[in-house]
């Protein structure tokens, strides 16, 4: 996710989400976009294609030891 977002990109994302926002609401989203982009960057690690997501919770014996 790029840290800056232009009006056209924001409009595309909002249209895809089915949201019809006021200019004021769009401006607010733009103010927090960089922070959200930083979060999205934080969860990306060099983990390779085999690293699975957490699928839910069956706790392993290792959890309980």
């Amino acid at each position: 996710m790029p840290s800056d977002i232009n009006d056209a990109a924001l409009d595309y994302l909002l249209a895809r989400a089915g949201l019809d926002l006021t200019n004021e609401q769009k401006a607010e989203l733009k103010t927090v976009h960089a922070a959200l982009a930083e979060m999205a960057e934080r969860v990306r690690k060099p983990r390779g294609r085999m690293a699975e997501p957490a699928h839910g919770y069956g706790f392993a014996e290792e959890d309980l030891a």
Binding site: A17, A40, R44, F59
Partner: protein, 469 residues
């Protein structure tokens, strides 16, 4: 008004011994509701007639056949995202002002089956998110220790009502800290149990894979008594765990000598520095635990910001999915704060979400590894004493990584207990975290700490002043 507010454990002993009438106990709670809730706004709906009828029923049953258990005749409240048959359940939202469910949520059903007395439905942030909001049908709850201050949320009414003795225990829900935050700022105990231990059936979702239901009460012992009634497999909840249930009070009073407690200092000293009062509370708590015989060890995890990013991305996306239909068609009917949170969903891609869930697996494995050889770990619950209610930042999600989300991400049980009082006489707290399904150990440590410290002896001045009047 009686100036003595018993704990659930104390009241249960007196009720079982027929020294305390459930009707008198319920009337005392209702008297406090009438006297204080005009300021606290802890309740959105008081079920007075039902409460008195249930209390009379409990009294008759106890006189005839004895108490059926520690919650028999005990006044409780339910967060207003918990479905209650025949009783309005609004989720704090304009959308559900006329909603009267035709069934009880699993947790409401279980507490009723245990003989508790329902005093009413408790204030929540809208659909358990955002807040405090001043543009909802009901005003936000206020902190009994100083009503100009915030309770934290989203289980805001439960925190305020327990602290002020309007109920002896209540239900909260916790997606990123919504039980433990209000417990901390209102000076009570609140546990987010292991994911899957308490059924979510009939409770409005905030974020499916992070949502937990749990008890809030004056003491950790009371939370243990409530959890005993609440825990257990429920096929109506797809995440419900199927495991034998332990006795949650079995280890209380056994002391903590030799227990190993890990301390995640970097969370509250480096990643997000806590207030001076909170820091003093944590340091004093560590000294107390050491004096009680626990061995303290240093624990290093990924930065708090990593846990917060992971949990927030999952939370934003799952919430946006849950409320997508209304977000698309009636966005303006949400509170301003909830609306802003829901709009964020448009900015998170499907790949962002899956990367967050992959990170979640890594972070959980990291906590699992860090807790090897330890019984519990400790960190802050909240960064500071309660802020003024009109000075709570809207985007604290981004500004201040919270201390509670890591354990929603991991699904591990975590309890907040009062660790004293800081600036302005407002409560500060510690958070203790256990291994999955090891709530008895968590209660053992929390209970030992509460008994070794004087903080359970002090109620908010507003409560004691009214009692004396």
């Amino acid at each position: 008004m009686s100036d003595t507010i018993p704990t659930i454990a104390e009241a249960a002993r007196q009720i079982a011994a027929k020294e305390l009438s459930p009707v008198e106990l319920t009337r005392a709670c209702l008297t406090r509701v009438h006297a204080l809730d005009g300021e606290l706004h802890a309740f959105v709906h008081v079920t007075e007639e039902r409460a008195l009828a249930e209390a009379r029923g409990a009294e008759r049953a106890i006189m005839a056949g004895g108490s059926s258990g520690p919650l028999h005749g005990i006044p409780i409240g339910l967060k207003d995202i918990v479905d209650t048959k025949g009783i309005p359940t609004t989720c704090g939202s304009k959308f559900l002002q006329d909603n009267i469910p035709d069934t009880d949520a699993a947790c409401a059903e279980k507490l009723a089956a245990a003989g508790s007395v329902l005093i009413g439905k408790l204030t929540t942030h809208e659909f358990a998110d955002g807040g405090p909001s001043f543009d909802l049908p009901a005003p936000p709850a206020r902190n009994p220790w100083n009503t100009a201050h915030f309770t934290a949320g989203s289980s805001s009414g439960t925190g305020a009502a327990v602290a002020a003795g309007l109920i002896l225990g209540g239900i909260g829900t916790d997606t990123g800290g919504s039980i433990r935050g209000p417990a901390a700022l209102c000076g009570i105990a609140g546990i987010k149990p292991t994911y899957g231990l308490v059924s979510r059936a009939g409770v409005a979702p905030a974020a499916y894979s992070l949502d937990h239901i749990g008890p809030m009460a004056w003491t950790s012992e009371d939370c243990a008594l409530m959890l005993q009634a609440l825990a257990g497999h429920d096929p109506r909840d797809p995440a419900s765990a199927s495991r034998p249930l332990p006795n949650y009070t079995a280890l209380l009073g056994g002391g903590i000598k030799g227990l190993k407690i890990g301390v995640i200092h970097h969370f509250h000293e480096v990643d997000h520095k806590v207030s001076e009062g909170t820091r003093r509370g944590i340091d004093a708590a560590l000294a107390t635990l050491r004096d009680l015989g626990a061995e303290l060890r240093e624990v290093q995890l990924s930065p708090l910001q990593d846990w917060a990013a992971c949990g927030s991305l999952i939370s934003i996306t799952e919430r946006a999915a849950a409320y997508e239909e209304w977000t698309r068609t009636r966005l303006g009917d949400f509170s301003e704060r909830m609306r802003s949170r829901l709009m964020l969903g448009a900015l998170v891609s499907g790949v962002d979400y899956v990367q967050a869930v992959r990170r979640r697996r890594e972070l959980r494995a990291e906590l699992q590894q860090a807790m090897k050889g330890l019984d519990v770990v400790l960190t802050a619950t909240q960064p500071a004493e309660a802020a003024k209610i009109d000075e709570v930042p809207k985007w604290d999600l981004f500004d201040r990584p919270n201390f509670t989300m890591p354990f929603n991400v991991a699904g591990y049980p975590a309890i907040s207990v009062c660790a004293g009082f800081g600036a302005g006489g407002l409560p500060v707290a510690i958070q203790l975290v256990g291994k999955p399904f090891q709530e008895p150990t968590l209660f053992r440590v929390a209970d030992a700490f509460e008994r070794a410290t004087p903080f359970r002896g002090e109620r908010p001045a507003l409560v004691t002043a009214r009692a004396a009047a």
